[in-house]
């Protein structure tokens, strides 16, 4: 477990040493701020419901930029060989990198906390709905990161990793649009896979075990595939 922390720490530091991370951080927070003030001003409601919806939409674009380098860069630079010839288990490498990215993402989330304090200052918001909303979008972000990391473990090219991540995330986010064109079991599967079906409940203040299972099993599945990809090295030269 110690090594997971060491790798996560190194990963986190590498985010702050890269200009991409600062660009993502500043751009994301700026866009969040603009939407927050616009939504609050337009709705005149003491709720963060619509702000959360904008946030999750922006995650679809933000997360692949954060995760595209996680494994691709290591493969490109040859440092994967360094990591894998140290007495470190492959699962520790995967978890360390995942937690590093999740902590960076959580830092971005922390910077949105003033939104709550602002509406708390001016009115009486539904605190539970805000709390579950934060839990929901945090889980959604953590799920998206696991997808990005899984894809990054398949290729040496950061661009390919980013494009593939966008494909996966777009499918998960916009699959509700396919409802009209599907039926039967396929429709059930497409609806279940749609990430908004599950995040919606959190945002309106409902904590349901099936939604939790969706996010946790999704994260677990992606990390498992990442580990298999690292173990087998089948995508090493892609």
């Amino acid at each position: 477990m110690k090594k997971v922390l060491f790798i996560a720490q190194k990963e986190l530091c590498s985010y702050f040493r890269s200009p991409i991370a600062y660009v993502v951080l500043i751009a994301t927070i700026t866009i969040f701020n603009i939407f927050f003030f616009t939504i609050i001003d337009y709705n005149q409601e003491s709720t963060l419901r619509d702000v959360f919806k904008v946030m999750e939409f922006l995650f679809v674009f933000m997360v692949p930029i954060l995760t595209m380098k996680v494994f691709s860069e290591e493969k490109q630079m040859g440092t994967m060989e360094f990591l894998m010839t140290t007495p470190t288990k492959n699962i520790e490498i995967v978890l360390g990198k995942y937690f590093g990215a999740v902590v960076f993402f959580s830092f971005i989330m922390l910077l949105t906390l003033p939104y709550y304090f602002i509406i708390e200052f001016f009115s009486r918001p539904d605190r539970m709905a805000i709390l579950t909303g934060y839990i929901g979008i945090w889980l959604e972000g953590a799920f998206f990161i696991s997808i990005g990391i899984m894809v990054s473990s398949w290729t040496k090219s950061q661009i390919v990793a980013a494009i593939l991540s966008y494909l996966f995330l777009f499918f998960l986010y916009f699959s509700s649009l396919l409802d009209k064109y599907t039926s039967g079991l396929v429709q059930v599967i497409v609806t279940y896979l749609n990430v908004m079906t599950h995040s919606e409940n959190f945002i309106v203040g409902i904590l349901s075990s099936s939604d939790m299972i969706y996010f946790f099993s999704g994260i677990l599945f992606c990390l498992m595939i990442t580990r298999i990809s690292i173990d087998t090295k089948i995508w090493d030269n892609v």
């Binding site: 530091c13 040493r17 440092t79 060989e81 010839t85 140290t86 007495p87």
Partner: protein, 307 residues
């Protein structure tokens, strides 16, 4: 210390290693030689438990590489062909990270980082970002990460690749300092380097061991030393003088100019045989201009094996 038994490795239809077996005792420095694609890097990757072998077994310090990869990696320091460095990290933070992953106790990490910084002459760049270092420094940082956990076995894949002569000298000195304590495996294309550093070479050819012997034996076994004598005189007299020297076997007489000839003889390293030859030349009034012996080189032996 290192025992390899019938190791084979296939990449699809390509057989990179074919039934390789050898043993390296503790404290020995062995050079892996071979053309590009001969299987050197694959063999090193199998020994470091980075790649699994398709068949066969490898043991490092008695531990099976495929069954106990983590234990084996603790005993091995490995420098891949391209030093695996993070360009945005400083030398010190990178070595600290390497120490953390290589199970150096938290209490000793700082001291161990300082120790390898000193051992690899990196103290003056310890706070510099790796991306800004010269190739020679980067190579030394790569070696520093390989030895930070005091491994019993060090595996270096082309440690002087792409370095200038001064940098090569630095890296060579560093490697020769390591060898007193540990078993070292080095692969390189620069054969003169192996001649200076290693005691034994293992020559790979198309995934098979083409030669495995002490360097001296490979050189002598490949080509006996030759004696080159430059003389001035008549050709017939020279031939007579050489023929009368029964102890030395003539290989060739070459005309270099007017009355100047070079006689190639098989060398016996026996001073009395040389005396006999010189006396015979004197008898026929032939002047000896120069006498030199040509040693067989590892390069010649290597080229012959790889023909």
């Amino acid at each position: 210390m290192i025992s390899v038994k019938n190791i084979s490795k296939q990449f699809g239809s390509c057989e990179a290693l074919k039934n390789i077996s050898f043993e390296i005792p503790s404290g020995e420095i062995v050079g892996f030689l071979g053309q590009n694609g001969a299987g050197k890097t694959t063999l090193m990757r199998i020994l470091t438990a980075y790649l699994p072998a398709s068949s066969g077994q490898a043991f490092i310090c008695g531990e099976d590489v495929s069954l106990n990869p983590l234990v084996v990696r603790r005993k091995i320091g490995y420098l891949p062909e391209n030093p695996p460095l993070y360009p945005t990290m400083t030398v010190k933070s990178y070595l600290r990270f390497a120490a953390q992953l290589k199970d150096v106790g938290i209490k000793y990490q700082k001291a161990q980082v300082e120790h390898v910084l000193e051992e690899c002459n990196l103290l003056d760049v310890k706070d510099q970002v790796i991306g800004t270092l010269s190739k020679g420094y980067k190579q030394r940082v790569g070696i520093a990460q390989a030895i930070i956990h005091e491994p019993e076995v060090i595996i270096l894949d082309e440690p002087t690749n792409g370095l200038d002569p001064v940098q090569i000298l630095h890296v060579r000195k560093l490697i020769s300092r390591l060898e007193s304590k540990r078993t070292v495996i080095i692969s390189t294309h620069i054969l003169s380097e192996i001649e200076q550093m290693a005691q034994r070479v293992l020559i790979l050819k198309k995934g098979e061991i083409a030669a495995d012997s002490e360097i001296k034996k490979i050189i002598i076994g490949d080509e006996r030393k030759q004696l080159f004598v430059q003389v001035r005189g008549e050709e017939s007299a020279i031939e007579k003088a050489v023929k009368e020297t029964n102890s030395l076997k003539q290989i060739n007489i070459e005309c270099l100019g007017e009355d100047v000839f070079e006689v190639h003889l098989e060398n016996t390293n026996n001073a009395s045989h040389y005396n006999e030859l010189v006396q015979n030349f004197f008898k026929y009034q032939i002047k000896v201009v120069e006498m030199k012996e040509k040693k067989g080189s590892l390069e010649e032996a290597f080229l012959k094996i790889n023909k």
